[in-house]
Amino acid sequence: MTENNYNEIMKLLCDRLEGVSNSNVQITSETNIISQLSIDSIKLLNLIMEIEDTFDISIPINALTDVQTVRELADLVYKIKSAS
C-alpha cells in the first residue's frame, strides 16, 4: 500500500459519507462522523459493510470504537488493507 492508496481510501470515504450524511457539512479528514454528519449507528454499520466489499477486507465493527473522524476511519481501512 502506498500514499496513493491512502488518498484513494480517503477520497472514497469522503464520497460515501457525503452520500449517507444528512448534513451540509463540508467533509474533511477531520470531520467527526457521528456528531458532525448526523449519521446514525446503523447507517455507519451498513457503510462499513460497503467498504469491506470495496476493498475485499473484514472490518470488525468493534474496531470502530476508536474511530471518530474520517481520518481515523481511513487509517483503520488502510491498516487492515495493508495487512491483508
Binding site: 446503523i42 447507517k43 470488525p60
Partner: protein
Amino acid sequence: MNLLEKLDASAAARKALLPDGVGAFGIPIEEVYSATEARIGDRRVLLLGTNNYLGLTFAPECIRAAHEAIDKEGTGTTGSRMANGSYFGHRSLEREFADFYQCDSAIVFTTGYQANLGTISGLVGPGDTVLIDGDSHASIYDGCVLSGADIIRFKHNDMVDMEKRLRRLGNRVETTLIIAEGIYSMLGDQAPLDDIVKLKNAYGCILLLDEAHSLGVLGETGQGLVEATGLLKEVDFITGTFSKSLCSIGGYCVSNHPQLEQLRYVSHPYIFTASPSPATIASTRAALELLRKGSHLRKQLWQNCTQLYTQLREGGYLLGPHPGPVIAAIVDTPRQALLLWQNLLEHNIYVNLILPPAAPEGKSLVRCSVNAAHTSEQIKYVGDTFCKLHGLVCSPS
C-alpha cells in the same frame, strides 16, 4: 458536552421524532384483563403488541404452580446460580429443556438477554470472530461486544453476502461463531437455516441460533426453527427466552457439546446475577409442558397469523416476507407510523411502534404480534381497522 448534556442531546433527538405527550414508548398499562385485553388510560384495548404467542399468561396450570412455589420457597432466591440460587426447580427446568431438545445439557439464565450475553461471551473472546446477521437483536450485539471478539455483520438473511464474509476470514473461520435468529423480531421473517448450516459445515464454524420468537411457534412440538427445518442436530447452541411463549421471564441455552457446562464457570451474566425466583421457575416449567403439548395452540396461532397477514396485505400494506406471529407494516416515515399507531390506539388497538434506527433500512414499523388466544373476530376487527386507516400511510407526509 458534559455527560448530562449528552443525555439532553439524545432526549432532544427523541422529542424531535415524538412530539410531547405521545407516550408510544413505555405506555402505562393500568390493568390487564386477559391475554388479549388490557386498560390503557380510560380505554379497554385489544393487545396486539405483546410476545404472548401461545396466549398462556393466565393459564391456570402456570398460575397454580407459581402460587405453590411462592408459598413453599418464598419470593426470591437472593443469590446467584453459582452460590445459593440453584434450587430443585432450576435444575429440573434445565433437565426438562435438555429433554425437550433431546440435548445433553441446558443452562437456565435469569433473562433471555443474559442467555445471549452469557453464551456468546462464554464461547468467544478477544482474537475470535463472531459473524452475525445485520438485523440481530441488541442482546446478540451486546453479547458480542462483551466478549471482546471481532464482530463482522452479514446482510440480513443474505447467504451470498454471508459466504463472501466467511471466505474473507481465511483460517480465522476455525474460531468463528455464526449467529442467527429463528424468527427475526422486527419483520417476523425466518432465517434460511438450511443454507446457514451448509455454510457453517463447509467452513467449519460453530453456529448459535436464538429461538426467542420461534420457541412454541414453529415445529410440531414447538422447538422452533430447528424442528420446522429438521436441523436440530446441526445447530451447535440454541438460546431462547421464557419471556415470550413461556409467559414468564428468564432464558436458556441448550447444546450437545459437553463444553456448555463450562459456561457456568466462565460466564459473568450467569454468575454475577441472582437466579430466577421460584415462582418464575415453577410457572415456566408448567408453561413448557403446555407448550410441548400445545399443537392445538400453534394451529390456532397460525390461523390467526395467516388471517391478519392476508388481510393487511390485501389492504395494501407492505409487510415482512413471511406470515407469522410478528406482522409488521413497513411505513416510509416516522410521522406516518406515529399517526397510524395513534389512530389504532384511538380505535382501542395497541400495537408496537418502531422508529429508526431500530427499524431496518431507515423505515418505521407498526408491528403487530398475534397470539393463540385472539379470537377470529378480534383479528378481523384489527385487520378492518388497519385497512380503514391505510390512507394515513400511503400519501407523502
